[in-house]
């Protein structure tokens, strides 16, 4: 819908421009979720380059990373968090520009998203202990060996079989927000 400047609080702001494929607007989505994309991509890159201890990276880059100056390491690790905070700021300004019905639904959807994300990370260690990541790990194998190309199950396992990363947190927050929005908007249709 209408945008006249870079600020996200130019009314009216329609949340469906970002989440409903029938109304999707790249322009609006890019303005709202620009920092989300940056956060996920940089966070994912950090995960795969500096924190992976399994094939195909095999820990070499991680050990090398630990020899880098601490300031550089902190800076690299902080980029996804800073991007996440800037995304929260964009989203807050986007919400402030919504009309009252959409603002109510969006805030409720964010509450749902925050609770679902916390719930996911609370239950994940138990699911992991019960063997869920092991199942994903074996699904990543072809004939008993890892494939040369990145495989979706391998990527999933790399992300999930460890303490939660900022990239996964940002991704889950957005995914649960979209789910929550579609659940909550049904009341008004």
């Amino acid at each position: 819908m209408l945008y006249t400047g870079f600020a996200m609080n130019n009314k009216p702001n329609d949340p469906e421009d970002c989440i409903n494929l029938k109304k999707f607007s790249w322009r609006t989505d890019t303005k709202v979720n620009y920092w989300l994309f940056i956060g996920i991509v940089v966070g994912l890159a950090n995960e795969l380059l500096f924190h992976t201890f399994v094939p195909p990276v095999n820990g070499v880059l991680r050990e090398d990373f630990l020899t880098w100056p601490v300031g550089i390491r902190i800076l690299i690790e902080s980029v996804p968090l800073l991007a996440g905070l800037l995304w929260a700021r964009s989203m807050a300004r986007f919400i402030l520009g919504m009309d009252e019905l959409h603002r109510r639904i969006t805030v409720e959807a964010w509450l749902f998203s925050a609770m679902a994300t916390i719930g996911f990370f609370s239950i994940w260690p138990m699911l992991n202990a019960a063997g869920i990541s092991g199942s994903v790990y074996y699904a990543a194998h072809f004939h008993g060996e890892f494939t040369d190309k990145p495989h979706i199950f391998l990527v999933l396992w790399l992300l999930l079989d460890k303490p939660p990363s900022i990239a996964l947190t940002l991704f889950l927050l957005n995914a649960f927000y979209i789910l929550g929005y579609f659940i909550l908007i049904r009341r008004y249709k």
């Binding site: 009216p12 329609d14 009309d99 009252e100 019905l101 959409h102 008004y188």
Partner: protein, 63 residues
């Protein structure tokens, strides 16, 4: 809460989108109010009252 927004809008021959523009809300919000799935805030109810030049209680009322 009940309301007469649909009748008042029809009398003016406005579409939901026209009314939404005048009230500075989305068409979905107008639809949700007309179908009584959503109760508007007090500022929005006053804005509707000013738009139709009617007392607020003649547009929005209990049962």
């Amino acid at each position: 809460m009940k309301n007469k927004l649909r009748e008042l809008r029809a009398a003016k021959e406005w579409s939901q989108a026209d009314l939404a523009d005048k009230l500075e809300v989305s068409r979905q919000t107008v639809n949700a109010i007309e179908t009584e799935k959503y109760d508007p805030s007090l500022p929005l109810a006053f804005k509707a009252a000013r738009l139709f030049k009617l007392p607020i209680e003649e547009i929005f009322f209990d049962q």
